[in-house]
């Protein structure tokens, strides 16, 4: 879509550590990725992998008193990690829109939907009440809500789940931001509605040429609508690359595990394999590769040091120290064991 190649959002070595009585929780520990206009970055990981914290930090919604934040977040060409509270307020809602997991609880139950959207306009511009309301109705129309004039005067409890998430999207996009962060936007919705919402986000991305971050705990959710994919584990990216590369030529054993644990229409498997074990405590991470203790291919070198994210070419990077050829062999053996027929 976009011709300018300068990234819209560029996050480098982001670390978000929370000191607690039990020790330092390393919620995000070296996250690096970029998002361009007209592109969707799908972010996948288990609960506690640092997905949500990463993007709440980008939004400036993490309390700086309770967290130690380092690294760099460049948005629209300027560093925003050290921006003042006032500057961040000007960006939130206006330049970056964000939607959340549960549209049932994310809208204010006592305010009319139209008023909640108009409030964004009134906060960021000098527009009149009626003009802000008109823009709210227009935003509701753009996300495909029928009879938006009537709907704007209703309360969230009069909306269905899918309609509420549409209203949230309208609220996030009413100021025509350049970036939309969707934090598990379909997790709380019916399967049929999930596809509609993802499609809508995809359409709006093209229509307004915005960058989109789509956070999910499921690879399947993001597969259809993401240009790029980042797999996160224990606060770090395990693998990062274009959607096609990551799905067809996954390099990290954790990504393999994710791919093998969900059914896929394009590959026939005889059984689905869960990943053994549970995510590590973010206070006492295992030495070296955090996935090591759960990795069937781990060896002693894996515990030596925390593996860096290394580019394997074509913008496809992963954080596993094994050689590419060896991983090819291991993956082939795994597929064979599963009885995969492509």
């Amino acid at each position: 879509m976009s011709t300018d190649s300068a990234p819209l959002l560029e996050v480098t070595d982001l670390r978000v550590h929370f000191p607690t009585a039990d020790g330092v929780v390393k919620a995000v520990d070296g996250s690096t990725f970029t998002v361009r206009r007209g592109e969707t970055l799908g972010v996948v990981g288990e609960s506690g992998s640092g997905k949500s914290i990463t993007f709440l930090t980008v939004m400036g919604l993490i309390n700086r008193q309770s967290a130690r934040i380092s690294g760099s977040v460049r948005f629209e060409g300027r560093e925003i990690l050290d921006a003042s509270a006032d500057e961040m307020r000007g960006i939130r809602g206006a330049r970056i829109g964000m939607i959340f997991q549960d549209p049932m609880t994310s809208l204010h139950p006592m305010h009319k939907v139209g008023d909640q959207i108009a409030e964004v306009v009134r906060t960021h511009t000098d527009k009149s009440k009626s003009e802000a309301h008109r823009m709210a109705v227009e935003a509701l129309r753009e996300v495909g809500i029928p009879s938006p004039e009537t709907r704007a005067r209703q309360y969230p409890h009069e909306f269905s789940g899918g309609m509420r998430q549409r209203a949230m999207i309208a609220m996030a996009l009413v100021m025509k931001p350049s970036l939309l962060i969707a934090d598990e936007p379909t997790t709380a919705l019916d399967v049929t509605i999930q596809a509609q919402i993802l499609e809508l986000i995809d359409e709006l991305k093209d229509q307004f040429n915005i960058g989109v971050v789509l956070v999910s705990h499921s690879l399947a959710t993001i597969a259809d609508v993401s240009e790029n994919v980042m797999v996160m584990y224990a606060g770090r990216p395990a693998e990062l690359g274009s959607r096609d590369e990551v799905f067809s030529d996954a390099q990290h054993p954790y990504t393999w595990g994710l791919l093998e644990s969900v059914p896929r229409p394009d590959i026939r498997v005889e059984r689905l394999v869960p990943i053994d074990g549970a995510p590590p405590s973010l206070i006492t991470l295992p030495p070296g590769c955090a996935f090591g203790p759960r990795c069937p291919h781990a060896r002693t070198e894996c515990t030596a040091e925390v593996p860096e994210l290394r580019d394997r070419g074509a913008g496809h990077a992963d954080a596993c120290i094994l050689a590419t050829e060896e991983k090819g062999r291991l993956r082939a053996a795994r597929m064979k064991a599963l009885g995969v027929t492509t």
Binding site: M59, L61, R89, G90, I91, R92, G93, A94, G97, M98, F100, D102, T105, S106, L107, H108, P109, M110, H111, E119, V120, T123, H124, Y155, H157, M168, M171, A172
Partner: protein, 321 residues
């Protein structure tokens, strides 16, 4: 909404009748002594007592007595409408005194309630916003003190300080507003404060807890994600859901206080409803007991109705039916 209110008003009448029947039955079931004895003179003979019983209508069967009570209540009696008869204890008409005493209790409650809301709500909000700071701990410590301090002790202490020692206030008792607004105020300020401090402390703790719950709601995170200032988030997004339940509680508490300011009235020597009910209960005074009970039941029921209507007006999710 209109139908809801009408239905609830009918329900109120039913509640009041039920309470009056129960009060009536309890009065006769409990072995509290024969009210006729008071009317039979210093050396009551069997005939005199029987005579007194007949005069008071106590010789009739219970259903018949209750029926007469209801009939007078609805149609009025020689003292006016609603007919509430005369006191077995003082032999004065109940209705005029009921009105006088309702004014006293009303004055205490309304001033106290205004004061406790003015203190309790801001203290709760500030405590929640300054959570875990010295402000929060200090305010909540003071609240704990007033929640636990007995009202009679607080009332006596305040009288000792502001009346006896400092001579700032004219003393106990009640002066009608029509007589002297200044004196009315001077006599009521201490009862208001004593009543308000207890309830302000309770309300501050409730408001604080509600605010802390609301602050962690998803829609507050949304509000910040919209780029709103912290001030706007508090004023437009947090206060309304935090205070909605308090409004309902406030209305019901007001109703309960109509007959529940006994200690305050007694210590400050004010002839209010609570005080009267206590005297009536101690003297087998059936008409006064019935009158006060009915007023309290009606007040609680009507203010609960007000609370429900207010809550529906504040929270669009609440449906009146």
């Amino acid at each position: 909404m209109g139908r809801f209110i009408i239905r609830r008003l009918i329900w109120t009448v039913f509640i009041v009748l039920l309470v009056s029947v129960l009060t009536f039955l309890i009065f006769f079931v409990l072995p509290s002594g024969d009210p006729a004895l008071r009317f039979a003179g210093k050396q009551p003979t069997a005939e005199l007592i029987a005579q007194a019983r007949a005069n008071l209508g106590l010789d009739k069967s219970l259903p018949e007595q209750y029926w007469l009570f209801l009939k007078h209540l609805v149609t009025g009696d020689e003292y006016g409408w609603p007919g509430l008869g005369y006191s077995f204890h003082t032999r004065d008409a109940v209705l005029p005194e009921l009105i006088n005493r309702a004014r006293v209790t009303g004055s205490i409650i309304i001033g106290g309630a205004a004061l406790w809301m003015l203190i309790g709500v801001p203290v709760g909000v500030i405590s929640a916003l300054k959570r875990r700071t010295i402000w929060d701990r200090g305010l909540m410590g003071v609240c704990l003190f007033f929640v636990s301090a007995p009202v009679f002790w607080l009332a006596l202490l305040s009288l000792l300080i502001f009346w006896k020692k400092l001579h700032w206030l004219p003393g106990t008792g009640y002066v009608a507003f029509a007589e002297s607004p200044g004196q009315w105020f001077a006599h009521l300020i201490l009862p208001w404060c004593v009543l308000a401090l207890l309830y302000a402390a309770i309300y501050a703790r409730i408001v604080r807890a509600n605010m802390i719950d609301v602050v962690s709601e998803d829609y507050i995170r949304t509000a910040y994600a919209k780029g709103l200032s912290p001030r706007r988030v508090v004023m437009h997004h947090e206060l309304k859901p935090a205070l909605a339940p308090v409004v309902a509680l406030f209305a019901t508490d007001l109703g309960a206080l109509v007959g529940g300011t006994i200690v305050t009235e007694t210590v400050f020597n004010m002839q209010g409803l609570g005080n009267w009910l206590l005297i009536a209960a101690n003297n087998n005074d059936l008409p006064v007991t019935m009158a006060v009970t009915i007023v309290v039941a009606a007040a609680v029921s009507l203010l609960t109705l007000v609370a429900d209507v207010l809550l529906a007006a504040i929270d669009p999710r609440v449906r009146l039916q």
